[in-house]
Symmetry: C2
Subunit: 472 residues, 2 copies
């Protein structure tokens, strides 16, 4: 028995996390206080309510984009950040005028399908384009087709996105949107219609970016809602030729300058060292961008506000970055990476909230080996929020992806996105889809993360150090 | 103990339904066979799939209305009914061209709200109508307002329909749509915007009829979706004057003649006596009318097809009535009542399926006292489908309401409508919202009802006899 107890004691010692004792009792007490306070408050719900009510849709390059930037600057100054500033982001713009997709076939009454033009798609010629539809189960089937099955036709890619908690089903499905139009254009299609990259059976089309290698060869590209894609599949299954008419009004406009909006809580001991929390301020043009990404704006702002309310400043600085023009190609994120990457040695961590308002269930991080125990210690303080420890691969969120090649250390606070793609990029992305309690859980998680990252006894290794480790 | 057993035996005798022995064993066996067969098949799903795929929206008075009538005639003949015929229904028509509602306020970016013009609303003058909004919690609040709160304004009625299984919450809520526009017009409003009479937070507006006493005094009336109504409420709550712009294109057209489509299984013994199953063929113009009322068409047709497949004809006749123009005022139902009421002594029962595709949970009936045991006996055969016995008040469904003053006996097979008003009268009423298993349960219930009603040893007392009993 004595021997057994000894083994057990040894095992327990072994199981004690490497992170024990990393943070001072005071820092841990503050982390817990932040966590509890966040849950008692409304988690920033009033921030996303105000943004979506006053500004509503705020597509990059529109008047509402400028109003959103002004709204953000005022909000961040009102809250009392130590510094608030703008960094310009210049980009080409596009806007939608209208889209209309109708379908007819022998024995089928002409019907209109619910559609949205994809971002940066060209307009059709006056009066639209009409052609027989060529249906493909997925992008691979299109790629495997003979050119004469596609040439002169309107391609329809029918693949359906499956639901998943972590959103991992989006990447494979979205190829039909991001690459499908180029593939169809290369094969001589007149236009392309895709099943929306979304999981809901509500009759909303999902927009989103598509890209052509050569804009002069671009073809009009639209998404139709899931019920309309079902309808089109049934029509094709009737066995007679189905004719689709696509009419898109869309305009490419002059380059526009928007801004990344940045606010700082200046650190008390190492102000040059920065923990960066991100979200994006722009949205698509069809909903009010409540989930994508008003929620993220609210979550990181509420987290920082809780820290600002403390009696002390954190040791390192904490910055909020409201990225510009994420939806049309991570443009704010690209500019930010370009501008700041030479200083990444001072950036501790990047973490963007851009996956709606579902609860966080896991933390993952891309940091140097020496700093992983700090991530474990932070997870221990997130555990009461139901947040597990994930692995050592992380992206930090879309706007930090352009920073990854420069070695930015990043954290993912992974949200439950089971319902996210029901609303994403649709007219239905509105405030009522946000649960304030889940929003508060997110704010609590970001407050704990930001505070402890700012107090960490160990740097996270951003820059050359991390790149070197990853190379090995 | 002996005495107790005697009491128990007496109680059991008492509990034995009065209906025992009403139907022959053969008839009951056939009823059970119909029930089981219905559940094994697809419940007519292919009928509603074909209708909604080939015809899609089929608003009364449109080209699609005529195509739907032709589709119905062909279907019923193909199935092999003994007789199929049309009865004309003539009515004034209206169609929607477009609607657009925008809103602005100090400190609020101009935004578009998702809207649908209400049925038979007038168009706005060229360029639309713009005025400050006057918000009221419900119709009663509008009625209680001072005229100067309303005159020259655009009224907004904000009341929200609550969810219910039996749909009983619709009646009170829909007053805002049916009477609100007239009340607002009487008080001098320029136009009226109502919160959609629907239960979903999806961003679909719900259309539906409204009525004005005097069309020359009518004002444009639109519904906005629930999320947009929330948005408008929040804008008003900011405390600054909110301006709404309503632009409606709509056309009143020439009278049009559609048809009630009627199909008969001619009875073997009393062919002049008729069990009438109804559903309506028209739909609103915005969805494909899958739930409202393609499902009803499928349910009653599948039920009758099961009976047609039997080796014998029922004793009495069974008729299917596909009513015309239900959505714009029960017009097919009115014409049918007018044409047939003098023969109601021969009509056994009317029962319309027009509440979507949720499962039936209860049977209720309005029949003479002598026939109530027959309803109890029918319910006993519906019990395995999860259908309870309801009370002795019933409407028979919307299209039989005009027949009630003439004493038509009616049955309600009450469906679970918890989700029905999520989709009702919206663009989102599409085939994917129908669960084939629930549809089959409905078909099973209608098959059992129609068969046993046609074999009943007791008449249900339609006409003067029922009116006399109800008067007492």
């Amino acid at each position: 028995m004595t021997r057994m107890l000894t083994v057990l004691a040894a095992a327990l010692t072994f199981m004690q996390p490497a992170s024990a004792g990393l943070f001072s009792d005071d820092d841990l007490a503050t982390a817990r206080e932040l966590r509890e306070r966040a849950l008692e408050r409304d988690g920033g719900f009033e921030i996303v309510a105000d943004l979506t009510t006053r500004i509503g849709p705020r597509m990059a390059g529109t008047e509402a984009d400028a109003k959103a930037v002004a709204w953000a600057e005022e909000l961040l100054n009102d809250i009392g950040f130590d510094r608030v500033w703008l960094e310009p982001v210049t980009f080409d713009t596009w806007h939608r005028d209208y889209e209309r997709v109708t379908v007819r076939a022998p024995g089928v009454d002409e019907q209109e399908l619910v559609s949205l033009a994809l971002g940066f798609t060209p307009a059709t010629p006056e009066g639209g384009i009409e052609a027989e539809v060529a249906m493909f189960a997925d992008l691979a089937a299109l790629e495997a087709a003979e050119p004469d099955e596609v040439e002169g036709r309107i391609v329809f890619i029918a693949n359906r996105m499956e639901r998943s908690r972590d959103g991992s089903t989006y990447g494979p499905a979205v190829q039909a949107r991001s690459r499908g139009p180029q593939v169809a254009a290369d094969m001589g299609a007149e236009a392309i219609v895709i099943r929306s990259i979304g999981t809901s059976n509500n009759r909303f089309a999902h927009t989103g970016m598509t890209r052509f290698d050569d804009e002069t060869q671009a073809i009009p590209a639209v998404a139709i809602s899931n019920p309309d894609a079902d309808q089109l599949e049934r029509m094709v299954a009737l066995g007679e030729p189905v004719t689709v008419h696509v009419d898109v009004g869309a305009v490419y406009s002059e380059p526009y300058t928007s801004h990344n909006v940045i606010a700082e809580i200046t650190g008390s001991e190492s102000p040059e060292k920065i923990v960066a929390l991100g979200a994006h301020l722009d949205s698509w043009d069809v909903g009010t961008g409540a989930l994508d990404d008003g929620a993220g704006i609210a979550i990181i702002t509420e987290a920082a506000r809780l820290i600002l309310d403390l009696d002390e400043r954190p040791q390192r600085s904490i910055q909020l970055i409201y990225f510009a023009a994420e939806e049309i190609g991570l443009l704010g994120g690209r500019v930010w990476a370009e501008k700041h990457h030479e200083n990444f040695g001072n950036y501790q961590l990047g973490a963007e909230s851009d996956f709606g308002a579902g609860p966080v269930y896991e933390i993952g991080a891309r940091v140097v080996d020496e700093a992983w125990p700090v991530i474990e210690a932070i997870q221990a303080e997130l555990e009461p929020l139901g947040i597990d420890l994930g692995g050592r691969e992380a992206s930090g969120g879309p706007d930090f992806i352009p920073s990854l090649p420069h070695g930015l250390a990043v954290v993912d606070l992974r949200q439950d996105g089971t319902d996210y793609f029901d609303y994403h990029h649709t007219e239905n992305d509105t405030l009522d889809k946000i649960d304030p309690e889940n929003l508060a859980q997110n704010a609590a998680a970001y407050a704990v993360l930001a505070w402890l990252a700012a107090q960490s006894p160990i740097d996270f290794g951003s820059g050359p150090e991390l790149l070197e480790q990853l190379d090995q």
